[in-house]
Structure formats: structure tokens, C-alpha cells
């Protein structure tokens, strides 16, 4: 007896229509539809697509919880053993839908799930920690590669077999660290890796460095004498007492402080909350980290239009990149809403 698989697809891959049909409500069909015709043979007869759940991408986006609940109900009612969603490639709403239904089914039904997305699909960042995602190309041209990879992984999950190397290489990292046991200690492994590197041989790192994104440089400020300039710091300068309790390391938040009437950051009125450098000098004169005194002079001289009345601060000390990114996005949005033209960011 083969395992019973449910396949989730959108209106486009079901052949119902494109954007003009994106608001169609869910429909359940028996057997295969669209990409299921490629997926089913790849399951080798060990598993079979029993039902296909079709939903318009806009309908899904407007009814996420309700559609997820419908998928969960179908899994229980039809005694489904595994859910395959997509592949959704670089389709944003479809990818998010695939991630959401997989996450809901994994949580509520505790059965294996899989989807396949392009790395830049927004569904990846939303769901990569919760569900296994096969890396696909950006368009349906990559169907031929994504389908066997999804089939291989889901069959291993169903049969409770270990994933092989090629399965791991096509799955996106969940960003979870697992304790491992090795025969050689860390120093020995590091030296072995270095020797390989020196010889120009291939080696595999045990801890990848984060990849930072790049942004296009913004154009120059045309007329500084009319510009509103803001200041932001990762050096932890806060009003005395650190009212928002910004942590000395691994910051979980940032502070927003009105300093419209402050001409100079004075000792005992402002301090640093940063726990990663000697605080003596910053506490003695916080302008050494956030140059308010000088900027007030420059503002008075009319060389800048205005110093924005709020400054933003966090502690850049072992702070998670994901947190820093989130702080930066929020602060950037607030500054944009306040019509700030340029920002000086100081870092310790």
C-alpha cells in the first residue's frame, strides 16, 4: 500500500487562469492536476497523489487562516500521509501560500511536508525555520529539477530514512544549529581545514558567515542648507537610566529619543548602554559617540537645514543580524515618514 499524498497548487498551475482568476476560492479535486502529473511518477509508486487542493493566490492572501484550516481538515478527513505544495518558484503570493499551508499541516497534523521555492521568494524568509524547502529556480523552467528533489525528500521523510547528501544540498538551510559529535576536536578540524585551504583543496566550513545584502548608493544631497539630517547610532547612547532597557549585548530593541531642546549631550544626562567597549569616555562626554554639540553648531550656522528632532540608538554588540535588519527597516521607515534627507550613523 502506498502513502497518500495531498498536493497544493494555485489557480495558474491548475490551468484555471492567471491573474484574472487569482481570487477563486478553494476547490478540491481527486487525483492529479497540473504539476502533479510530473510529481506522481517521481514518487515511484511508493506514494501517490490522492487529492489536489487548488486555491487562487489572492483568495489565499485574504483568507490565510481559513484556507489553512480547510487544508488541515482535508488532510485529516482523507487520511493524508504527506503534503507537497508547489513548486512555487519565484511567485511571491503562491510561495507564501505554499509555506503557510505546509507550516499549518506540519503543526496540526504532524505529517511530512515539502515545498520548493526560489531563494528570493518571500515565502522562504517567512517559513524556512518551520518547514523543509527545496531550492528551485525562479521560473517553471526549473520544474524538472525541483520535482525529483521534492519527491526524494518527502519519500525519505515518509519512510523515516536519513536524508542523503544530495537531499541536503537541495534543501534550504533552516538556520538551526545542531550539536554534533566528532572524533577530532575543534582545533584539529580547524587545522585540517586550513591545510586543505593552503593546498587549494576543497573544504567545507562548519559555520558559514552571514551574507549581507547590498543596497544601491543613494544620490548625493543637493542642497545641504535645506536638508533635514538625522543621527542614528549603534554605540548605545541613551538618556541616563536607559529608559528602554536596551541590553548591553545582543540587543532586542532600539530607542527613539526626542532631543529637540538639547544643545550638547552632557555627562550624567546621557550615558552609553553598550557593554562591548570601555564606557568611560562615552559617559564622560557622550558627544564622542553621538556628535550633537557639533551638529547643533552646524545647524545654527545654516550649513544644514535642520537636525531631526529624534535620534535612534541601539547596541551593536553581538546583536543578531536579523534583529539589526529589523531595527534598520523600522528606523528607516520612520525617518522617511519624517522627510529626513540624510542620516549620519555612528558606530563604536
Amino acid at each position: 500500500m502506498s502513502y497518500r499524498v495531498l498536493h497544493y497548487i494555485n489557480q495558474f498551475f491548475a490551468g484555471i487562469g492567471g491573474e484574472e482568476k487569482a481570487d477563486i476560492s478553494p476547490e478540491i479535486r481527486d487525483g492529479l492536476v497540473g504539476p502533479g502529473q510530473a510529481l506522481n511518477p517521481a514518487l515511484n509508486g511508493e506514494a501517490e497523489i490522492i487529492k489536489t487542493f487548488i486555491c487562487g493566490d489572492n483568495y489565499f492572501a485574504n483568507n490565510i487562516d481559513a484556507v489553512c484550516a480547510q487544508v488541515v481538515a482535508l488532510v485529516k478527513e482523507a487520511k493524508i500521509d504527506a503534503l507537497i505544495a508547489g513548486p512555487a518558484f519565484n511567485a511571491g503570493r503562491y510561495g507564501t501560500a505554499c509555506g503557510a499551508v505546509c507550516a499549518a499541516v506540519a503543526k496540526e497534523c504532524n505529517i511530512p511536508v515539502i515545498t520548493a521555492l526560489y531563494p528570493e521568494n518571500p515565502g522562504v524568509d517567512l517559513y524556512r525555520k518551520l518547514i523543509p524547502i527545496v531550492e528551485s529556480s525562479d521560473s517553471a523552467r526549473g520544474m524538472g529539477k525541483a520535482v525529483p528533489a521534492m519527491a526524494s525528500v518527502i519519500l525519505k521523510f515518509l519512510k523515516k530514512e536519513e536524508l542523503c547528501k544530495s537531499d541536503h544540498s537541495c534543501l534550504m538551510e533552516k538556520g538551526i544549529r545542531i550539536n554534533m559529535f566528532y572524533d577530532e576536536n575543534g582545533a584539529e578540524r580547524a587545522v585540517a581545514m586550513l591545510v586543505k585551504k593552503l593546498k587549494g583543496e576543497e573544504f567545507t566550513t562548519e559555520y558559514k558567515m552571514p551574507v549581507f545584502d547590498r543596497v544601491e548608493p543613494r544620490p548625493a544631497v543637493k542642497d545641504m542648507s535645506k536638508a533635514t539630517i538625522a543621527i542614528v547610532t549603534s554605540g548605545g547612547i541613551v538618556p541616563k537610566g536607559n529608559p528602554d532597557h536596551i541590553a548591553a549585548s545582543s540587543a532586542q530593541n532600539y530607542g527613539e529619543y526626542d532631543f529637540a531642546n538639547v544643545k550638547d549631550l552632557l555627562q550624567n544626562e546621557y550615558i552609553t548602554a553598550h557593554g562591548g567597549y570601555d564606557q568611560t569616555y562615552a559617559n564622560e562626554d557622550p558627544d564622542r559617540v553621538l556628535p550633537v554639540d557639533v551638529l547643533r553648531d552646524i545647524e545654527k550656522e545654516g550649513k544644514i537645514g535642520k537636525l531631526h528632532n529624534k535620534f535612534y540608538t541601539t547596541v551593536g554588540n553581538g546583536t543578531a543580524v536579523a534583529n539589526a535588519l529589523a531595527f534598520g527597516k523600522e528606523i528607516g521607515q520612520k525617518l522617511r515618514d519624517a522627510n529626513v534627507q540624510a542620516v549620519i550613523l555612528t558606530s563604536t
Binding site: 549581507f212 545584502d213 547590498r214 543596497v215 548608493p217 543613494r218 544620490p219 548625493a220 544631497v221 543637493k222 545641504m224 539630517i229 554605540g235 567597549y277 570601555d278 564606557q279 568611560t280 569616555y281 562615552a282 564622560e284 562626554d285 558627544d287 564622542r288 559617540v289 553621538l290 556628535p291 554639540d293 557639533v294 551638529l295 553648531d297 552646524i298 550649513k303 544644514i304 540624510a342 549620519i344 550613523l345 555612528t346 558606530s347 563604536t348
Partner: protein, 63 residues
């Protein structure tokens, strides 16, 4: 404005002004208060100049 320029480069800053030292990027406790404020002023003016300069790639403003 940061002291460890390679970090600013690796995280993707586009206009970078090297500063004095980690615990006092925009100051120097060895100077008297007037000299120190002058130093800070020069650094901030450098930043304002960088903001008024068009760049096409990550740029470290050393001058």
C-alpha cells in the same frame, strides 16, 4: 562613521568615514576640550561632504 572600516565595508555601508577609536569614535580624551571639539567638527564635516558626493559603489572617504 566608524573605526573598524572593514566591518563597515563587509556589512555594506556605501559612504564610510573612518573615525578615531572604538570607545571614542568622534573624540579624543587626550586633547583639550577645544581641540577635541574641533576634531569632532572636522569629522562631521567630512560626513556632510560625503553625503553631498555622488558615489557608484562603496566608498571610504579618507580625505
Amino acid at each position: 562613521m566608524a573605526t573598524i572600516v572593514p566591518i563597515s565595508v563587509s556589512v555594506g555601508a556605501n559612504r564610510i568615514i573612518p573615525t578615531v577609536s572604538i570607545p571614542y569614535p568622534l573624540g579624543n580624551p587626550k586633547l583639550n576640550p577645544v581641540e577635541e571639539k574641533n576634531l569632532r567638527r572636522q569629522l562631521v564635516e567630512k560626513a556632510l561632504k560625503a553625503l553631498q558626493t555622488d558615489v557608484t559603489e562603496q566608498t571610504v572617504f579618507t580625505e
